[in-house]
């Protein structure tokens, strides 16, 4: 595996670079012989998946690293055929129920139940149960989550679930209560730059400390991204210099530009321009909440204290509505319009105050 992210990914619990307390806790859990359902949550790029794989490895040995891909065909009650891809080893099975879109309930009911019902044939292995890893649980529809509840209890004798998600906010509380929640926080800047230095040393590349700091900053504490950034930097300029520019993904730049447009002019015409840009972003498969988040971050930078609170409240409201509706564009634009309106008043008041002050002088 050649990307640095893949190449230097630890596969054993004791080799993990940070959150040592968590690692030892997991190790004790595995050593005890049995463990409850687990719910890993934390921001993207914090190392949830790495920890899950390490735990599995601790449990079953090297066997879990021999992965293969299988396709399962399911038929929904409305006779629609869905193909679901699973990643299997001999000891565990992993899949992404939200791949099935609105039919995720069927996936949970049919596939998961089938897997859970079957007893492990491999009596030679040390454990009497197998593990099912479910990714992106927070993207599951409510119905799917509800149908998960009973399955979790009923088949716990021969099947353990490891759920993985970014935020528990979108996981219903009955599921949360059935799992042992394990939070994987994002690594700190220092931890990231330490890892970057370690990887660069292994690769035989000199990484200037300044650059590693900047990368850690820009990666938003996302280790995956930090490693990719370093590698991209190395490709761009071979002996890396402290001042060299760090490439940003196009979509991030594009959102930044959009935010600039909003701040530059507040008019219906501008709103129309912003709309076309949001459409463009969505066409590039950028999730609506991400657009909202990055846009807000950029916009908030040019607001003063009291307005910041207002803007963030509004953004939270509209972000919530995105999930209630089905067309995110409406809600993003409603937020932009609201911000424009607020910002224009704010600017004019500021201008008025300025004039007042000048008058006083």
């Amino acid at each position: 595996m050649s990307l640095w992210v893949d190449k230097y990914r630890p596969t054993q619990l004791h080799k993990l670079d940070y959150h040592h307390a968590l690692s030892s806790q997991l190790k004790r859990l595995v050593d005890s012989g049995d463990f409850p359902h687990l719910l890993f949550f934390g921001p993207s790029g914090a190392g949830k998946k790495t920890r899950i794989m390490c735990t599995l490895r601790e449990m079953y040995g090297v066997g879990v690293e021999r992965l293969r891909i299988e396709n399962i065909n399911i038929q929904t009650p409305s006779n629609k055929k869905i193909e679901l891809t699973t990643i299997n080893s001999n000891h565990h099975i992993e899949f992404n129920p939200s791949d099935a879109g609105i039919y995720d309930r069927v996936v949970v009911q049919e596939v998961l139940k089938n897997i859970a019902q079957m007893h492990t044939l491999d009596t030679g292995s040390q454990r009497g149960f197998k593990v099912v890893v479910l990714n992106e649980v927070d993207k599951l529809t409510r119905e799917a989550q509800h149908s998960l509840r009973r399955t979790m209890e009923k088949y716990s004798s021969n099947c353990r679930l490891i759920l993985c998600c970014n935020s528990t906010g979108k996981v219903i509380s009955p599921i949360r209560s059935r799992c042992l929640g394990i939070r994987v926080p994002a690594p700190s800047h220092e931890e990231i730059s330490r890892i970057l230095h370690y990887v660069c040393k292994k690769e035989g590349v000199v990484l200037p400390t300044e650059l590693s700091g900047r990368i850690a900053e820009m990666s938003r504490r996302n280790l995956r991204r930090a490693l990719l950034m370093v590698e991209a930097c190395r490709v761009q300029q071979h002996p890396m210099s402290p001042e060299q520019s760090i490439p940003l993904p196009d979509w991030e730049q594009y959102i930044k530009q959009t935010a600039d447009l909003i701040l530059m002019e507040q008019s219906p015409k501008q709103l129309l321009e912003v709309r076309s840009r949001v459409y463009e972003l969505m066409a590039h498969v950028i999730p609506a909440d991400v657009i909202m988040k990055y846009l807000l971050e950029e916009l908030v930078k040019s607001c003063d204290g009291s307005m910041k609170a207002e803007v963030i409240t509004a953004a939270a409201e509209f972000e919530h509505r995105i999930h209630l509706g089905s067309k995110p564009i409406f809600h993003i634009e409603a937020f932009v319009a609201k911000f424009m309106s607020m910002y224009k008043r704010f600017l004019e008041e500021g201008l008025g105050n300025l004039q007042d002050i000048e008058m006083d002088f």
């Binding site: 990307l3 993207s44 891909i69 066409a283 509505r321 509706g325 809600h331």
Partner: protein, 818 residues
């Protein structure tokens, strides 16, 4: 006819003796003669006093005995030779001779048949005769008009007025006095071009277009305004004229060009507009006016493709389409928006001259006018480009109310113009609805006042308005007519009535999804004072509300909540309406966006499907798109020397192999493709570049052509080597073939895709592998080995299956294979 009767009677009469005593005749006619003939003969030659004629009043009146005797003297079979023309008849039994008088045909027709047989008609002959005379008169006038039309159209219209006024009104009055039971809609339907109430521009345009057919249909010169593509000289005068015309009449001159077969560019005219604007009437009147016979096909007729074809061919393509009126036919396809799609295809093919039997189809030689309500019907999609599309604007209220006033005075009704205008407005300027309700009212009261109209007697027309109408109403602020003295009584422009109006329109338009999308895509283009963008903010709140509500309705199936949808349009009206006429467009952006997104998602899916399991285990779809790919594309394009790999330094070689490794694990490769400027270039396969790049941001060209080519080849080679290794490993382990595990690397198709270089590599490895085999193998298997060397991709795969087979079994040792 007369002679026939003579002969007929001669034979029959000769068998009978009683014929001489006409007073008490019992005519024993031949059994073979039909009742009808019997009657005729009786009428003409005998005096049947006991014969009953049904329902002929004036006929029976004249049958008194004296008259009978008189007639008998006048007509019958004679014994003596009469004066004038006659005919002799001999009785075969007695040998007696009789004489029959031969009468002039003309006098027979005029005096005998017509006078007596009027009873067969439903009206008095006198009236009929008068009407026929009038009709003939009218026709001659029309003919004159037509001839003049050919000379100059515009002059003609004014002259038309003076010429046609007189006879027309006379007909109107006579009709209205005599017939009371006719629907007013039919009674007052216009018969002449000048009586049309529809928009003058549309009328003229259609007439002009119809006149373009004259050279084909009637012969003669082309009208002046027709632009011929053949002798279209671009001199300056022409241009100036054209621009002038465009400015003044807003007509596209190109609509009236002729093609190279001297026929109009558009073979069809398509009239579209709401019901009750007079489209069908216009088509009929104009076709008559231009000298055509109208053949109408509407929704009540069979409109299957076969019926359609035969109809079109019968009316338009055959040259003998001359009826007894001696006029060419013009086909009017009414209500065409409801016709099946196949029929429309047939029509379009006929018109454009396309089709399977291209040669056999003649060129269209008669005009076809199509009429529809909904221009955006699916069926009409292919018709629109080949047709001259004429939109019917709403009839002007003043024009319509004037006409209603005239009708009221004709019908002896009291009316005032305000009440009539109100009627027009209530019915949405629908002529038909106006007339019907007027007639309805007239049975109750002779006084048409505002009170009557505004009472429940005449309700608002329940029109099914289209989406564009809705959007127009939403964004258009009606001008307040305060100047009128009686403005209070008119449907005013106050906010309450506007609220109601938009609400009802939105309710009747339905299709909330589309209507809301249309509002969403159009509202920001409206010119409305909105300095703090507050209306924008509120409007978007409403749109967002719509989305949430809609989603809620769909998930919870509470359709009663749909009652709240119309208020969205109402709110937009109050926030975004302006007196200017709005410029509207159909909403397409959202659906386009959805399609684009689906396309990109699919690319992402293809990419994900090919990623190696181990890499994939750590991937989520969104992280691949947002985090990995943007950097990955940079990472896989390092600075490389596009030279032979043999000349690379060990470090470079290492770099290259890592690069290839990365690309394989992320299922990337380069593919040769013909670029825009007809040059071959290598692009990523799957095409992830478009997934990552945004328009407006600098798109980096990562690598040179040579480098990409080099990498693409190396990726292929590496894939092959891996496939090899995997299969040899299986061979060694004596494991059954693992098929499930096949990623793209294992896909055997890759083996066959190799180019020359890769095969070399391939052989080299094979040799290395087989070298070991040769050492262990028996001499007996040498031939097999050489064979294997030649087609080194094939291996012996041993599979052990327990059970019985029908195949010949032989003991083979493992050693023999190795």
């Amino acid at each position: 006819m007369c002679a026939e009767f003579g002969e007929f009677s001669h034979i029959e009469f000769s068998n009978d003796e009683n014929i001489f005593v006409p007073q008490d005749i019992e005519l024993p006619f031949g059994n073979n003669s039909s009742g009808n003939e019997q009657k005729r003969v009786k009428e003409d030659y005998i005096l049947p006093n006991d014969v009953e004629f049904d329902n002929e009043s004036n006929f029976s009146l004249s049958w008194d005995t004296e008259a009978l005797l008189k007639k008998a003297r006048n007509t019958k079979v004679l014994r003596r030779c009469p004066e004038g023309e006659h005919m002799t008849v001999t009785d075969t039994d007695t040998g007696e001779r009789f004489y029959l008088r031969i009468r002039d045909t003309k006098t027979l027709v005029h005096t005998e048949i017509l006078q007596r047989r009027t009873g067969m008609l439903d009206r008095n002959f006198k009236d009929l005769y008068e009407e026929a005379y009038d009709l003939q008169h009218k026709r001659t006038i029309e003919k004159a008009i037509r001839e003049e039309d050919n000379i100059d159209l515009n002059n003609n219209i004014s002259r038309n007025l003076t010429l046609s006024d007189q006879p027309n009104t006379s007909i109107d009055t006579t009709q209205s006095l005599k017939i009371n039971s006719k629907l007013w809609v039919d009674k007052y339907s216009p018969n002449l071009y000048t009586e049309l109430l529809s928009d003058d521009g549309v009328n003229r345009k259609l007439l002009k277009w119809l006149k373009l057919w004259d050279p084909i249909v009637f012969g003669g010169d082309t009208p002046k305004y027709a632009k011929n593509t053949q002798n279209n000289t671009n001199n300056n005068n022409n241009k100036i004229e054209n621009t002038f015309q465009k400015n003044t009449t807003n007509e596209n001159v190109d609509d009236f060009t002729l093609d190279d077969t001297n026929r109009p560019k558009y073979k069809l005219a398509l009239l579209c507009g709401a019901p009750g604007l007079g489209k069908t009437t216009l088509a009929h009147v104009i076709a008559e006016h231009a000298g055509y016979d109208v053949v109408e096909v509407n929704a009540s007729d069979d409109r299957s493709p076969e019926a359609f074809t035969s109809r079109i061919e019968a009316t338009t393509q055959t040259l003998s389409s001359i009826t007894n009126r001696h006029r060419p036919q013009c086909l009017i396809l009414d209500e065409i928006d409801g016709a099946p799609l196949n029929s429309i295809t047939v029509l379009v093919n006929t018109v454009t001259g396309k089709g399977k039997k291209n040669k056999s189809i003649q060129l269209l030689s008669r005009p076809i006018i199509c009429i529809c309500n909904d221009l955006y019907a699916n069926a009409l999609r292919q018709l629109k480009p080949v047709a001259l599309v004429l939109h019917f604007p709403q009839t002007a209220t003043t024009k319509l109310s004037n006409r209603l006033g005239y009708i009221c005075s004709e019908e002896m009704l009291h009316s005032n113009i305000t009440a009539l205008m109100m009627l027009c407005e209530r019915s949405g300027n629908d002529i038909r609805a106006c007339l019907n309700s007027l007639q309805f009212i007239s049975y109750q009261t002779k006084d048409i006042s505002i009170e009557v109209i505004s009472s429940k007697v005449v309700d608002r027309k329940d029109a099914n308005k289209g989406l564009f109408d809705l959007w127009k109403e939403v964004f258009h602020l009606p001008v307040n007519r305060k100047r009128r003295p009686d403005a209070k009584s008119l449907p005013n422009t106050g906010s309450t009535s506007r609220f109601d109006k938009i609400y009802l329109t939105s309710l009747s338009a339905g299709e909330y999804e589309k209507s809301t999308m249309g509002i969403f895509e159009n509202f920001l283009k409206q010119k409305v004072q909105d300095s703090y963008l507050e209306s924008g903010r509120d409007a978007l709140e409403w749109i967002a509300f719509y989305d949430r509500l809609n989603n809620y309705i769909l998930t919870s199936q509470r359709y009663s909540l749909m009652a709240y949808f119309p208020y969205i349009a109402v709110n937009f009206h109050f926030l975004y309406s302006s007196p200017k006429l709005p410029y509207l467009s159909y909403p397409v952006k959202h659906s386009e966006n959805v399609q684009n997104k689906a396309k990109q998602t699919q690319i992402l899916q293809i990419l994900t499907d090919g990623i190696l399991p181990y890499t994939r285990a750590y991937l989520f779809p969104t992280t691949l798109n947002m985090d990995i790919l943007p950097y990955l594309l940079t990472i896989v394009s390092p600075a490389m020397r596009p030279i032979n790999t043999q000349l690379y330094s060990p470090r470079e070689k290492n770099q290259l192999s890592e690069l290839v490794d990365t690309m394989i694990s992320y299922n990337l490769t380069y593919k040769q493709q013909l670029g825009l400027n007809a040059q071959y270039q290598y692009v990523f396969d799957p095409p992830v570049e478009q997934l990552i790049h945004f328009a407006g941001l600098s798109s980096r060209e990562y690598l040179s052509y040579g480098a990409k080519q080099l990498i693409a080849r190396e990726v292929d080679v590496e894939k092959m080597i891996r496939a090899e290794r995997l299969s040899t490993r299986h061979n060694k382990e004596n494991k059954p073939q693992e098929v499930k595990k096949s990623g793209p690397i294992l896909g055997s198709t890759n083996l066959y895709k190799s180019n020359a270089k890769s095969i070399e590599e391939h052989r080299y490895i094979a040799k290395d592998f087989f070298g070991r085999i040769i050492d262990t193998s028996n001499s007996n298997h040498n031939i097999q080995n050489t064979l294997q060397r030649k087609y080194s991709k094939f291996f012996i795969r041993f599979r052990y299956n327990e059970g019985v087979t029908d195949a010949i079994r032989r003991q083979v040792k493992m050693k023999d294979f190795m």
